[in-house]
């Protein structure tokens, strides 16, 4: 016990590690805020020039960038309705309407505070319950992942923001787009039409930047002479009453985040959307309706995606299985430094586990301080006249798209998605579900097929599986509840307006 505490305290006492952590968080915030630049990309870049560093230093900068990047994604989502990362898609739904009302400072301030809280929840869970959660997460079968993805698809009703039929249509078009390319199971080409560029599929980041960034810019051009709203920056930090009010929601959403983050293959994006949906279904009377600037719509996704950080480290450190893309890269970094992540890691090198817990703790504090210090300069961005900011946003979108795989073709796809998103907005088809469909499509398709193969291609056996395993049964019941909660009967019973 005393040894563990000693390991935990090392980064606090080492100014070099401390500097790398704070620097990493600051860089991560900017990386996350810029659409197209992702934490995954930044951490993979870091591997190339930290492999000769001491392991602790390399891990410090990676942990800092990871935490900062997840937070940074929310900044542009709130200010410009362009999520810096998929995990911030839900945040923009209520954050952007707040910015349009001149409350960007309040939105980012609340986002920063609850992010710190949730990040700490994730770290504490990692420290206390890692082996238990990791063993539970390993029990998930392809059928359970299929059900989890199906739950995600059901969120379309929540994030659609209007006519459910149009929301479903947009989401399913997204799923169909995600099928483009080489089928990962059989290698068969789907919807490629002999075009080599389509064989690798269409990146969801390309679609996201187009559907959110370019379509937003085009929409703004309809009224480009309109003045940008003046931002109220008098009260950035939420007071204790406000924090207390959102504490139960923050706790619930953080727990969702930790658990989803701990599942291999799912991360902050799915967690944030599930938490947003959960908040929308359970909060009876928000001060402002969801989709129009509800603070609950910022608290839920932001706490979930920060909780998912700690969650993602659970299977990585206890089982050697990555919880998400960034932890997958970090496993690579551990290998480079001669370590073998897996069940023996915690036994053979307990100091590593406790130092990572410590690094994530420091990163969370750095996130809180640097995030609050960044609110004012970030909020000023939205006050820049549209005639100046929108051409820059377009260039930013082009760079972000090109950076994914250095392809001008991707830039053309992005413009295509931008134009499509613009037309969809004008006719009331929400763009959020389409991105959700593109993200969840492969998860849904591959796990359905694995589960069906496991059931020997027998539909009856496949369906029976939903009721024979406890996890599948729980998820099936959760889906049934989600469907029921959309009915008028449920809303009447709960007294929800």
């Amino acid at each position: 016990m005393m040894n563990n505490l000693q390991y935990f305290l090392i980064p606090f006492l080492d100014w070099h590690i401390m500097g790398l952590l704070w620097g990493g968080v600051l860089a991560g915030i900017w990386v996350g805020a810029i659409p197209g630049l992702s934490g995954t990309m930044a951490v993979s870049l870091l591997i190339s020039f930290t492999f000769s560093w001491e392991l602790n230093n390399a891990l410090a900068v990676m942990c800092g960038v990871f935490v900062g990047a997840v937070y940074g994604g929310a900044i542009t989502a709130i200010l410009l309705n362009i999520p810096g990362a998929p995990a911030a898609i839900a945040t923009g739904m209520d954050g952007y309407p707040l910015a349009k009302k001149g409350l960007a400072g309040k939105a980012i301030g609340l986002c920063t505070t609850v992010s710190f809280f949730a990040s700490m929840v994730g770290v504490v869970t990692l420290a206390v319950a890692a082996p238990i959660i990791a063993n539970f997460a390993l029990k998930f079968s392809p059928r359970d992942f299929f059900l989890l993805a199906a739950m995600g698809i059901l969120l379309i009703g929540s994030i659609g923001g209007g006519d459910p039929v149009k929301g479903i249509m947009a989401g399913v078009v997204g799923i169909l787009i995600s099928m483009v390319g080489m089928d990962p199971s059989t290698g068969e080409l789907r919807y490629t039409f002999g075009n080599l560029n389509l064989m690798a599929g269409i990146s969801f980041v390309t679609a996201m930047i187009g559907l959110f960034g370019v379509s937003e810019a085009l929409t703004q051009f309809r009224d480009s002479r309109a003045k940008s709203p003046k931002q109220d920056l008098t009260k950035i930090m939420p007071d204790w009453t406000t924090f207390k009010k959102y504490l139960p929601l923050a706790l619930r959403s953080s727990a969702i985040g930790v658990f989803i983050g701990a599942l291999p293959g799912t991360g902050g994006d799915v967690a944030a959307l599930l938490a947003y949906d959960q908040a929308k279904r359970t909060i009876r009377h928000p001060e402002t309706p969801f989709g129009q600037g509800a603070l609950e719509g910022i608290v839920a996704p932001e706490t979930a995606n920060k909780g998912a950080i700690g969650g993602a480290f659970i299977p990585m450190l206890t089982l050697g299985i990555p919880g998400d893309a960034i932890t997958a890269i970090m496993i690579g970094a551990l290998f480079i430094h001669g370590l073998r992540p897996g069940p023996m890691l915690m036994i053979e090198t307990p100091h590593l586990f406790w130092m990572i817990v410590s690094m994530l703790t420091i990163s969370s504090v750095a996130l809180f301080v640097l995030g609050l210090l960044s609110v004012r300069p970030f909020s000023k961005i939205i006050e820049i006249p549209k005639s100046i900011i929108m051409p820059v946003v377009i260039i930013l979108s082009v760079i972000g798209t090109y950076a994914i795989q250095n392809s001008v073709t991707d830039v053309f796809y992005m413009i295509g998605f931008g134009a499509l998103g613009y037309f969809m907005r004008l006719y009331g088809y929400p763009t959020g579900p389409m991105v959700l469909g593109i993200i969840l499509g492969p998860l849904l398709d591959s796990n359905y097929r694995r589960a069906m193969q496991g059931a020997e291609n027998e539909i009856a056996q496949f369906i029976a599986g939903f009721f024979t395993s406890p996890i599948s049964l729980f998820l099936t019941l959760a889906i049934a509840f989600m469907l029921f909660s959309q009915t008028k009967t449920y809303r009447k019973l709960r007294g929800i307006d």
């Binding site: 810029i34 630049l37 870049l45 952007y96 309407p97 349009k100 009302k101 001149g102 409350l103 923001g161 209007g162 006519d163 039929v165 149009k166 479903i168 249509m169 399913v172 078009v173 799923i175 169909l176 099928m179 059989t186 789907r190 919807y191 810019a217 085009l218 051009f221 309809r222 480009s224 002479r225 709203p229 109220d232 009260k235 001060e287 402002t288 989709g291 600037g293 005639s387 100046i388 929108m390 051409p391 820059v392 377009i394 082009v398 090109y402 950076a403 250095n406 001008v408 830039v411 413009i415 004008l426 006719y427 009331g428 763009t431 849904l444 359905y448 097929r449 069906m452 291609n457 539909i459």
Partner: protein, 167 residues
């Protein structure tokens, strides 16, 4: 102004939020029809994929295409049932006001120019021309200066800090 007042203040119209209207938007029927055609084509091309079992690669594309067609039909019927838009309102005029057309064309020209002029020159030209146009032909010197600052910041951050290869 209190937080409550600010929260309840009228926000600019958010086009991403669907508001059911009595009157159909110009071109709405056409857009729903395009959705149906997209779904039908999706199904048609899925027929070429392997379909020998319930776990074949064609299963999800077929299911998705069918749902798209069904949703498109519902949207089409809903659109037809609504009142027609005012006479003289065309889909083209509704979807593509002058500023949007100009910026879209500029964006396409910019993308085609990228491999030829390379990032710094093409982007600078795009930003300068875009800003001057959006300022209504005014603030020419400011547009040159702002574009220069933005370009320098973008190149510094992406090329030299994050080591991103620019087009």
């Amino acid at each position: 102004m209190s937080d409550e007042q600010i929260l309840n203040a009228t926000a600019p119209a958010d086009l991403s939020v669907y508001v059911p209207e009595k009157v159909r938007k110009p071109g709405e029927i056409g857009f729903a029809l395009l959705g149906i055609i997209f779904g039908l084509l999706g199904y048609y091309f899925a027929l070429d994929m392997t379909h020998d079992s319930y776990s074949a690669p064609s299963v999800f594309p077929k299911i998705a295409s069918t749902i798209i067609v069904l949703c498109g039909l519902v949207s089409l019927v809903k659109a037809i049932k609504r009142e027609a838009p005012a006479a003289g309102e065309t889909a083209f005029g509704y979807l593509l006001p002058k500023d949007v057309i100009v910026m879209l064309v500029m964006l396409l020209v910019y993308c085609f120019a990228l491999p030829i002029l390379h990032f710094p020159l093409a982007s600078y030209a795009f930003m300068v021309i875009g800003m001057i146009y959006l300022h209504g032909g005014k603030k020419i010197i400011q547009s040159f200066i702002y574009s220069g600052i933005a370009l320098a910041a973008l190149v510094a951050v992406f090329r030299y800090v994050f080591l991103v290869i620019l087009p």
